[in-house]
Symmetry: C2
Subunit: 146 residues, 2 copies
């Protein structure tokens, strides 16, 4: 593979495969982003992000939340002390900020296109993780030019 004739068709297939690969990577990243974003939210308007609270907001068991937090720590995005909640590191906060901005933009776009608020909120949650910078830029352009 790689040095054949008929480059058109082959390229298209490779782009397709790459696309799927990208989706798989996005999935791996999205959990971290969701957790980071939520922790940031909780700290902002509560001062603390407790595992139980995180679990409740995400609709998962506390164990799942704790495991996810452990993963955040492993990746250097958060720190937590046993009974004193979770805090984001600088890197984690940056990730959260980025995710939040993207989320906001996606949501605004959906609303601008006339999607009902509830659906827009729910869909934005899923869509945001699959929006490349190029697409995000296009969204921003559209919203500005409106």
């Amino acid at each position: 593979m790689g040095l054949e004739a008929a480059p058109g068709a082959l390229e298209a297939e490779e782009i397709q495969a790459r696309g799927f690969g990208r989706v798989r990577e996005a999935h791996a990243a999205e959990l971290l982003e969701d957790y980071a974003e939520l922790i940031d939210d909780l700290v902002r308007d509560g001062g603390q992000a407790r595992a139980t609270e995180i679990a409740r907001r995400l609709g998962v068991s506390h164990v799942t939340a704790v495991k996810a937090v452990a993963r955040l720590e492993r990746e250097g995005l958060a720190v937590s002390q046993p009974h004193r909640g979770v805090k984001l590191t600088e890197e984690g906060a940056a990730l959260a900020a980025h995710a939040r901005a993207r989320h906001r933009l996606v949501l605004d776009l959906l609303l601008a296109l006339g999607v009902p608020a509830e659906d827009a909120k729910a869909d934005a949650e899923g869509i945001e993780h699959h929006v490349s910078p190029a697409t995000l830029a296009a969204f921003a352009r559209f919203l500005k030019g409106k």
Copy 2:
């Protein structure tokens, strides 16, 4: 939970949790959709959908593709004979048609918003699975009114 005061805040949290739950469900469904769509493609313009070819297009090992096909069969979406390729059942074909239409619409929307073709293709692959009927309808409306 459920009978407290301050219904506003609680409701918002529940909507959030529901949104995340929806995303998780979408993930479980999307693999099936991707495979169904691809199999449909391959059968259309090749007559056959072989496991190896599916694997190549998706950028995964043949084993992974075979396992996914087995899951499609388990769910009644496809049938396959050992060395004679995979075919979609009626239900599988319906799923594929639905996924294809949605995919097309998402892609068209991205293109209409000025996203470069390559990025649009890659992003559509990820976004399509998180677009609710309401959002899809809004996309269609926008494209028509353009």
